[in-house]
């Protein structure tokens, strides 16, 4: 492990599912303390890409390295010490107590026959406390609401304390205030551990709020766009990505994008000009339209 290596390095990655190529020649480097957000329409392959980055799915071509170590050199346990993965949904068949579900995050840090020590118990308790879940600790996970279950799953990741967080829709099922609070907490935790975060978000206001880099994944064109959030999170790019005219909303210090009224485009057409309420920094876009 090299301290100077990027937490996640992706080089010339091609991901295929069956015959379908989801992305081709994807390269990027996520450094410590960076937050990358994957955005794209339904079915573009965001979750598949994230599973691939997590080392949970095989890929066609290219290289993935975590902190300089190629994925192939790490076994399942070593992988789990470096990266945490939040699945898009939690399905609980067996009853389990919330505290135990969070304590499960300590699994990769224990040897085969070791039992959870006070350190692990403290880590789980701290994780619960940071997400304000202490009152839920003795509950059965199957009795939780979807939003509560989501926060418990996030607490499990905090207890795991990895250097790379891969989150598939961490804000799903959460109310607006909880979304901000939960993501703030996770990102602060990541920051403390010099970790990098790569997450899939559907809520564009959260993307503009948290992303410093984005990956725009368009399953049809195969070429994902990667780059700075400020450059890529614009009405123009997002209109092209989702195939619908997106307009910019600004309020307070944050902005978001919403589809214009009933303006669905067929895919692969030039996006129409966003209405004039678009952000003023969309200069290029406005030039073309005038």
């Amino acid at each position: 492990m090299n301290a100077n290596s990027p937490v996640l390095q992706v080089n010339d990655l091609t991901v295929k599912r069956g015959e379908r190529v989801l992305c081709e020649a994807l390269s990027f480097e996520a450094q410590a303390n960076e937050c990358w957000v994957i955005i794209g329409p339904n079915g573009a392959g965001k979750s598949t890409l994230l599973l691939t980055l997590a080392g949970l799915l095989p890929f066609e071509r290219g290289n993935i390295a975590w902190q300089g170590a190629p994925l192939s050199s790490l076994n399942a346990l070593k992988r789990a010490r470096r990266r945490a993965f939040l699945a898009s949904q939690q399905s609980d068949v067996f009853s389990a107590i919330v505290f135990d579900a969070v304590l499960a995050g300590r699994h990769p840090h224990l040897t085969t026959l070791q039992w959870e020590s006070d350190i692990d118990v403290a880590a789980a308790e701290t994780a619960l406390a940071r997400l304000k879940l202490e009152p839920l600790a003795p509950r059965d996970v199957r009795t939780l609401s979807a939003g509560e279950r989501q926060r418990v799953a996030l607490a499990t990741l905090l207890a795991q304390a990895p250097s790379l967080y891969l989150l598939d829709e961490p804000a799903s099922h959460l109310d607006p205030a909880q979304q901000i609070e939960a993501l703030d907490t996770v990102l602060a935790h990541a920051h403390e551990h010099n970790a990098a975060v790569v997450m899939i978000l559907h809520e564009l206001h959260l993307a503009t709020r948290y992303a410093d880099h984005v990956i725009l994944l368009d399953g049809e064109k195969r070429r994902a766009k990667t780059g700075n959030a400020t450059e890529l999170l614009t009405a123009q790019h997002l209109s092209a990505l989702f195939g619908a005219t997106m307009v910019t909303l600004e309020g307070g210090e944050f902005k978001s994008f919403v589809p214009d009224s009933a303006s669905y485009l067929s895919p692969h057409t030039t996006p129409p000009c966003p209405p004039q309420i678009a952000a003023p920094d969309d200069a290029a876009n406005q030039d073309r339209c005038e």
Partner: protein, 366 residues
């Protein structure tokens, strides 16, 4: 760049969170340890219950030795243990002891296999027989009677069980080998159910061909019966080996209970663990079925009942299944011997008759 959100909002500086971070590993007492003390209490209680169950298992084994058509008291047992010619001792040594040990071993094996199958398939309704191992064994055993070579019963039953296990495992494997065996459970379950249905048809076919004289003993075997058991050692050895091999995996199995993606993301070598789980569960089931036939119900309800009592930590649950399943079946078998003595009921009838009300009671209470 993470901090952007905080700075923009200007209310929460991350500094406060840094301070919090220092508590992460060191100062556990800055966080009121409510949850963790409850956790320790639960763990203590689990060990307590486990020790109580061990004592109970011993008591039940003793009871099985002492009760029957010839009643023996504890002092008599103790006294006869010294002088070797006592006929009472002969009854115990040659009849009751092997039968009680076999009952304990088979009960333990079936409960253990049931707990493992429920985890593997992530389905609380799974039991050791759901994937057809018992059907394969039954067809082998029936075949040995049909060709009138009863000494072939055990080898053919073992062969049938293993054949069935391999058929299901390789039948359920996906052609494209992806690294995650993830959510393979429905496929495995479906393959198993179909194969089990096939064995069921073969069983009926063999029964219809069997001479009437053998029909009765065949039916008793299918329902599960311990009356003929003389050799408990194979089953006991299988029980110890299975527990010794699966117990070190117990924390991996805990992760599997939350789902296979979750487990693999937390560092469980998924394919290896699943193959191990399946192989050992099939082996345990085969050892039990070959010894005592298809005893119903033990493998389904004992793991459930113990999960309700002890929680779902496999490090506690798996040994508990051995003790609980063993004690349960020994008790049921003793009842089968004694209830309508001198007639003996098939053991399998008693497991269901005791198991159903006990389980319904536990389920209502939970």
């Amino acid at each position: 760049m993470f901090t952007r959100a905080y700075y923009k909002r200007g209310t929460e500086k991350p500094d406060s969170l840094y301070n919090h971070h220092e508590t992460f590993f060191l100062l556990t007492d800055t966080v009121p340890p409510v949850a963790s003390s409850a956790f320790r209490q639960r763990r203590r209680r689990a060990w307590l219950v486990l020790s109580a169950m061990a004592a109970l298992a011993l008591a039940v084994l003793l009871l099985a030795l002492l009760t029957g058509s010839v009643q023996i008291t504890l002092p008599e047992l103790w006294a006869s243990g010294r002088g070797n010619n006592d006929p009472a001792l002969a009854i115990i040594r040659d009849l009751r002891l092997p039968r009680a040990l076999a009952a304990f071993a088979c009960g333990g094996l079936l409960a253990l296999a049931g707990a493992m199958m429920q985890l593997l398939l992530r389905n609380p309704l799974a039991d050791p027989y759901v994937l057809g191992v018992s059907g394969g064994a039954a067809v082998g055993a029936l075949l040995s009677w049909l060709i009138v070579l009863p000494w072939l019963q055990t080898p053919l039953a073992v062969l049938g069980a293993l054949l069935s296990a391999l058929l299901v495992w390789f039948g359920a494997r996906r052609r494209s080998e992806s690294s995650w065996g993830m959510e393979n459970a429905p496929r495995l379950l479906l393959t198993g159910v179909v194969v089990a249905a096939g064995w069921g048809a073969l069983i009926v076919l063999l029964l219809s061909l069997a001479p009437d004289a053998q029909l009765r003993s065949a039916l008793t075997w299918l329902m599960g019966d311990l009356s003929g058991v003389m050799m408990p050692w194979t089953a006991l050895a299988a029980l110890l080996v299975t527990l010794a091999l699966i117990w070190p995996q117990a924390r991996n199995l805990n992760q599997l209970a939350f789902g296979s993606v979750h487990a693999e993301a937390l560092g469980v070598p998924l394919k290896r663990t699943q193959a191990w789980l399946y192989g050992l569960a099939a082996l345990a089931t085969a050892a039990a079925v070959v010894t005592a036939g298809c005893l119903p119900f033990v493998g389904l309800i004992v793991p459930h009942a113990l999960r309700l009592l002890l929680g779902n930590d496999q490090r506690v649950l798996l040994p508990a299944c051995v003790l609980g399943g063993g004690a349960f079946l020994t008790l049921a078998d003793t009842a089968a011997r004694v209830l309508v003595a001198p007639q003996a009921l098939p053991t399998g009838v008693l497991t269901a008759l005791i198991g159903v009300p006990v389980f319904l009671f536990l389920l209502r209470r939970a």
